[in-house]
Symmetry: C2
Subunit: 421 residues, 2 copies
């Protein structure tokens, strides 16, 4: 558990849909990190059923632990399942008070859509006695109040509305009210081309110590994220810089970005910097690399397009792969991967290209060419390199890793270009 924190927080989420598994609670991850940035570590996060007594009791239990902040999310709508206002009032023994100006704001939303407000929305103008409304962008007003040493705040359950209310209203308010002097500064480094074990092994060589920087890892199909955390303070930035410097000294180009950097975005930056264009030729990744390229806004500046050559005929017709090559080596071979990359660069008039051919499974594998066998080729100015991988697990994981790996190989080649020209 993180110890050097300023304060503690708890979260309570209401909604049967969360408990039934209808939806994943992404609000918890958002608020957990947001609280951390505000110097608050959440010790408890509860989802509780839409029942007045259960919610009120959960609020009581949380307050008994005296957190600095108690956040509630959801239950602010007009339906009878929306019970957050009532539950907070009940837990604290407060009356609900009607706020005329709140009613007008709710009614104004309906007028925007030329609709008249149903009577059920009247309850959205009620707040526990002493509570202050939090301005809202959606349809549900939030509120906050102080109870002993805890600030209680109720936020909407709709993620978009929750994010805005946190960023615009609650975060500034907490900064002011809590007079937070120590929060946590977080820095993320995105790593590619290494497994968790190899990474841990590499970082064991870290000579740097102290500065109170804690380093965690978070693994996903698109690589590993190193999370560097340091208590805020005048030295925090310097501590994080030192830690980042040390980590970069060891990992070098394995680090493809910071923050929530995306590999396709990193490749895009390099292409832009060199004034180069790119194309794709995909078999086993089936369009995923093109999708990754075009997920990035503005990618049309450097991404020419791609071919998803799932059939052999498509490899021949659209990429100019020779039929004889396919017959001699099979579609899943370094020779065909190379010909695909070359063909994509030529046909799409691109300076660079990446290609993939492999067996994503679950069917189609053989002893010689098992499921997970993938060849990736990169072409830069006509110069082609190929690499062979044996990837594991599901079809989706193999495809995701293939796309990430192909983009990474192109990135590494573009970096080499950077130092020689």
């Amino acid at each position: 558990m993180i110890v050097h924190m300023h304060g503690t927080a708890e979260m309570i989420f209401t909604g049967d849909e969360l408990l039934r598994g209808d939806i994943v609670n992404s609000n918890q991850a958002f608020l957990g990190e947001a609280l951390l940035r505000a110097g608050l570590f959440a010790t408890h996060s509860l989802c509780v059923a839409d029942s007045l007594d259960l919610i009120a009791h959960a609020v009581e239990e949380a307050l008994a632990r005296q957190p600095d902040v108690l956040l509630l999310s959801g239950g602010l709508g007009p339906t009878e399942d929306d019970l957050t206002r009532e539950a907070v009032a009940q837990a604290l023994g407060l009356e609900l008070v009607h706020h005329e100006e709140l009613l007008e704001q709710v009614a104004a939303r309906f007028q925007t859509f030329n609709m008249s407000m149903p009577p059920s929305n009247l309850k959205q103008a009620l707040l526990p006695h002493g509570a202050h409304a939090l301005p809202f962008t959606g349809t549900a007003p939030g509120f906050w109040l102080a109870a002993d040493d805890t600030i209680i705040a109720a936020l909407p359950g709709v993620p978009r509305e929750l994010h805005v209310m946190w960023d615009k209203e609650l975060a500034p308010l907490l900064r002011q009210r809590l007079d937070t002097t120590t929060g946590v500064e977080v820095r993320r480094l995105r790593v590619a081309g290494m497994g968790e074990g190899t990474l841990a092994e590499a970082l064991r060589g870290l000579s740097w110590k102290g500065g109170d920087v804690e380093i965690g890892t978070r693994a996903g199909a698109e690589g590993i994220t190193l999370v560097l955390r340091c208590a805020t303070g005048p030295e925090a930035h310097a501590h994080l810089d030192t830690a980042e410097h040390e980590v970069r000294r060891i990992l070098g180009r394995k680090i493809f970005g910071t923050g929530n950097a995306d590999m396709a975005e990193a490749v895009g930056h390099l292409l832009r910097a060199h004034g180069l264009t790119a194309a794709t030729a995909e078999s086993c990744s089936g369009g995923l690399i093109a999708k990754r390229f075009t997920d990035v806004a503005g990618s049309s500046d450097y991404f020419q397009g791609g071919v998803v050559s799932y059939s052999n005929q498509a490899k021949i017709d659209l990429l100019g792969v020779e039929e004889e090559l396919l017959q001699r080596h099979g579609a899943v071979s370094p020779e065909v991967a190379a010909a695909m990359a070359r063909g994509a660069a030529e046909r799409l008039h691109a300076d660079c290209a990446v290609s993939t051919t492999g067996i994503a499974g679950p069917g189609g594998g053989s002893e010689e060419k098992p499921v997970g066998l993938v060849y990736v080729a990169t072409a830069v100015h006509g110069d082609v390199e190929t690499a062979r991988y044996l990837m594991f697990r599901t079809r989706q994981e193999i495809r995701t890793r293939t796309a990430q790996t192909a983009l990474d190989l192109l990135r590494l080649r573009l970096l080499t270009l950077g130092t020689t020209t």
Copy 2:
């Protein structure tokens, strides 16, 4: 809150990474639905920090509410942050007992990888007195024990391992121990091409009543899922059949599948049924439709491939779109969409094709052709149809909706084919 349930359950998840927002708690959604199927409604689901006292106290609070089942997830590994065994023992005032056969099983995992077991793993052979081990597939043994009227079970935090342990061990055990007579049967219907408002309006006309079937909706970028729920029992199946029949009578072909059906899979089934092949020509969806097609295992049987023609030149070179057409109507036009679909079908020797061209944003929009303007064309046996959409929100949402819509249009055309041939 759902009332006609057999019993109640609670869940406790341990792990600072959940509270810091490093990861989203997908285990909660999995277990919430799994419990529901087992006839148990979760009233509380708590994430608690990695602290022995906090976890033990959370277990006590949960047991005080006397749920039929209390599930814990996470904290079964060998590190000092893995505290579930100790916390359950502390909460119940039990000793931890060493199980030699468990130690052998853990050690055997290491032998598989030719590694010797570190001493820290010794604690994985400890269980609270009276607890039974749950066979494991990963590295962490689970356990269960009965405390008064509550069955307490501890499961791993790794989703893959959790799923297996639930399916293979805990679900059968609960069925046996709880002698559950009423659970909930769930049926899902996947709807495309309708907004939530229109859908609600349409279902208002449902003439059928009773049978205790509750209908909920769950919206996402890939359409809406109708969730039909009914208490288990000899009549449940018939009740759900009646409800499904009524819903289908109203929505007809808007329903593209049941369960977790995927649109690309639905299209794949139809292509297979008709012995047809398909190809894609994508501009604004940038490879996403090809990815969707090839997400489906075995799609190489009917998916020929596709072209991501992000540049105009690619539209000309790879799809045979006439330059004059591009100049006259612009790339984002019904004429170009049609030419792209026709070109994809021809060049990829496919019976059917879908194409997209539009402005996914955030840049590139104009008054005449705003961000979100999308043309989709479908070609079936050379017969081309185009449709125009104005989509909202972010680049990613516009792209996701475009792909889903294009696949849906092809599906609807294939269905028409079904009735005439």
